[in-house]
Each structure stands twice: as C-alpha cells, then as structure tokens.
C-alpha cells in the first residue's frame, strides 16, 4: 500500500501544490492543502480507481482549497489579515529588467491576482484548464459537472479576468 501511495503522491503532488498555490497565493496554505489531500489519498487508497486518480485528486484539492479560503475569509474578517503573495517567490528564474519584461511581469502578476480573486467554480476551472492544462474529461469528473457547463464557466471566467484587469491593459 505504501508503494502505491508513494507512486500516486509523486505523480500528483506538484499538481496539487500548484493548484493550491495559484488558488490561495500563499505557500503555507498551499502546503496545508497538499498535505491534507495526500493524507486523504492514503486513507482512500483502496477505493480510488487508478484510471480516475487524477480527477479524484483534483476534486479533493478543490474542496480543500475552498475550505482554506473560507477559513481565511473568517480569519481576515476578524483580524483584518492581509494575504501574502508567495507565488513570485516560487519563480526559479530571475527575470530581466527590460521594459517589455517588466510590462509582461506586471501583466502576469495582475492576472494572477485577478485569478485568485474570482469566485468558484470559475477560478478552479481556469486554473485546471488554462494553467494546468487538464483535459475537459478530467475537469468534468473532478467537478462533477456536464461538459457544456464547464465550457460556459470557462468562457465566463476568462471574461471576468479581462474585466478584473481593467482598461489599462486594453490599450497595450
């Protein structure tokens, strides 16, 4: 059982962590989500269909992210807590300082911020489809939604991102 767990954990740990980090934008929360999902993976090893392990992992990861976001909302309502942005710290390659690169980086940061700020299920669908490039089949299984619904949410999510970016980036 331990070998099987390690194989699945190695296959999906980065997927879970990336999904959690783009959703929550804080390394500590992303680690909590990843660990939570991996513990559940161990506990449910016997009932997980190997063919659908990816969809199972994404479904559990999304639920864990929603839980953390809900707790954070409650916490920030009480303590006026600021959310740290840890994604930039995870970029391994330093970027050059030319104007074009600076603009690109600003755009990317604005997009990441907008992405983390939009509601569910738009955010999860955008991260799964656009950032992580999961297949529609995996997303449909993970979210337990019909394909057409997933596509409609994806279109709306992209439009919401454009609206969140504002006029500044329309001129560029």
């Amino acid at each position: 059982m331990e070998d099987r767990f390690r194989r699945l954990a190695d296959a999906y740990k980065n997927t879970i962590y990336t999904f959690a980090l783009y959703s929550l934008r804080r390394q500590e929360d992303a680690e909590d989500v990843t660990q939570d999902v991996l513990v559940k993976l161990w506990q449910n090893m016997d009932s997980i269909d190997p063919e659908r392990a990816g969809a199972w992992v994404m479904r559990v990861a999304r639920n864990a992210v929603i839980d953390v976001a809900r707790r954070r909302k409650t916490r920030s309502a009480v303590f006026a807590e600021e959310v740290d942005v840890d994604i930039a710290a995870n970029y391994a390659v330093a970027e050059s300082g030319t104007d074009r690169h600076v603009r690109r980086r600003e755009f990317r940061e604005a997009l990441e911020s907008a992405l983390a700020g939009i509601d569910e299920p738009y955010r999860s669908i955008l991260i799964m489809r656009e950032v992580q490039q999961h297949s529609y089949r995996e997303i449909v299984e993970a979210l337990d939604m019909p394909l057409n619904t997933v596509k409609v949410y994806l279109h709306r999510g992209r439009r919401m991102l454009r609206e969140a970016l504002g006029e500044e980036y329309r001129e560029a």
Partner: protein
C-alpha cells in the same frame, strides 16, 4: 459609436471566448470576425483575451516541497501495533522468528496458568503467624458471641436498649473475645463481629417487630 454598433459590440463580446475556442457555428464565427475587423474596441478586447490565454498557459507549475509526502504519510499511517513494534525492534533478520516465538510464549503462559490453578489451595486464608488451632479457637468464641446477639435480637425491640446492649451483649462478647489471642481477634474477628451485631440489631429485628404487631392486631 451608434446604437447599432453598441448592440453589435455586446453581441460580439459575449462570443469572443467561444470564437477563440472555435466553438461557434460558421455563421456566428463569420459575424464576430466581421465585427472585430471593423471595431477597434472589440479588436482590443480580442487582443486582451488572447494575451490572457497565452499568459495563463505560460504560468509555471511549482515543485511541491519534498517533505510534504513524508509528512502526509506519517500523519496518515496507522500507529504500529505491538507486533510491528517488536518486529521493528528485532530487525528484518529476526522478524522471521517472531511468529514461532510468540506462539511458544503463548504455550508457556497457558501451561504456567494451568499449573498454578491446579495447585491452588482453596482452603480459607490463615493470617500468617498463627496456627490453625488458634484460628479455630477464635472462630468458636466468635460463634458464642453471635449466639448472644441472636438471643437478644429475637426479643421485642424495647429490650434492645443501649443499656441492655451495654450490660449484656457487650460484656458477653468481650469476655468471649478476650479469652482468645488478642491480636487475632482484633485483626480478623472484631470487624466481622461488629458488622454482624449491627446487622442483627438494626436490620433483622425490624421485620420481626412488624410481624409481632400484626399478630397482636395493633394498628400500624
């Protein structure tokens, strides 16, 4: 921008994403393409939509910290039972002997248990330091003391006043008890006799009083 163009922009804006995904019918796709070609605002919107897609798809994945898998395994792994702990202590070479060793241990424990039970002395426990004859003598004297108590408790309750108990029961018991070894009496017999006396006086007499009242036809 006139009203017709504004309506066209709204119509186009709703179709930009499916148009870029090539999910529109040929007729609708041609309508969007025509509008975008002639509308600077919608063309900028299409450019932004393309930039959003390209940027999202270029975002990197991140490496999960390696310790998280081990941490999760430790959190999820059930705590080892006694067998696993012994096996871990013995090491892999000795682990093969664990099952026969445990079976042998069970056999030994059962054999010892059977031996102890079959040789168990079922006679009453005698306080150490006293002979069986001394204990028998003390028990006989105690029975005499109980006999006194029994005689008085058969009488109506008014007889069992404290002064009567003090004058008759107590000296009789004291006399009987003082004749035996004091230590044996104090340690083993006095508490039992005291309990018996109390039971006889205050529990056993009550039903007899009620019965005697009924016989005499007195109102309760």
């Amino acid at each position: 921008m006139n009203e017709s163009n504004r309506r066209d922009c709204n119509w186009c804006s709703e179709r930009i994403e499916p148009w870029l995904d090539e999910e529109l019918s040929a007729r609708e796709a041609a309508g969007v393409a025509d509008h975008v070609a002639g509308c600077r605002e919608c063309a900028a919107e299409v450019e932004l939509a393309r930039a959003v897609r390209a940027t999202l798809r270029s975002l990197p994945g991140f490496e999960c910290p390696p310790y998280l898998v081990e941490k999760a395994a430790m959190a999820a792994r059930p705590a080892p039972g006694p067998r696993q702990r012994i096996a871990a202590w013995l090491g892999p070479r000795m682990e093969v002997f664990l099952r026969p060793a445990m079976a042998a241990m069970v056999v030994v424990v059962v054999a010892v248990g059977v031996f102890v039970l079959s040789n168990h002395d079922r006679s009453p426990r005698v306080p150490s330091g006293y002979s069986a004859a001394e204990i028998e003598e003390a028990a006989r004297e105690a029975r005499i003391a109980f006999a006194y108590v029994g005689r008085y408790t058969r009488a109506p309750v008014r007889v069992l006043r404290e002064d009567v108990i003090a004058e008759r029961v107590a000296p009789a018991m004291g006399e009987a008890l003082m004749e035996s070894r004091r230590e044996v009496v104090e340690r083993a017999l006095v508490p039992a006799v005291e309990d018996a006396v109390l039971d006889a006086l205050f529990v056993e007499t009550t039903p007899r009083i009620n019965r005697s009242k009924k016989k005499e036809g007195r109102p309760e």
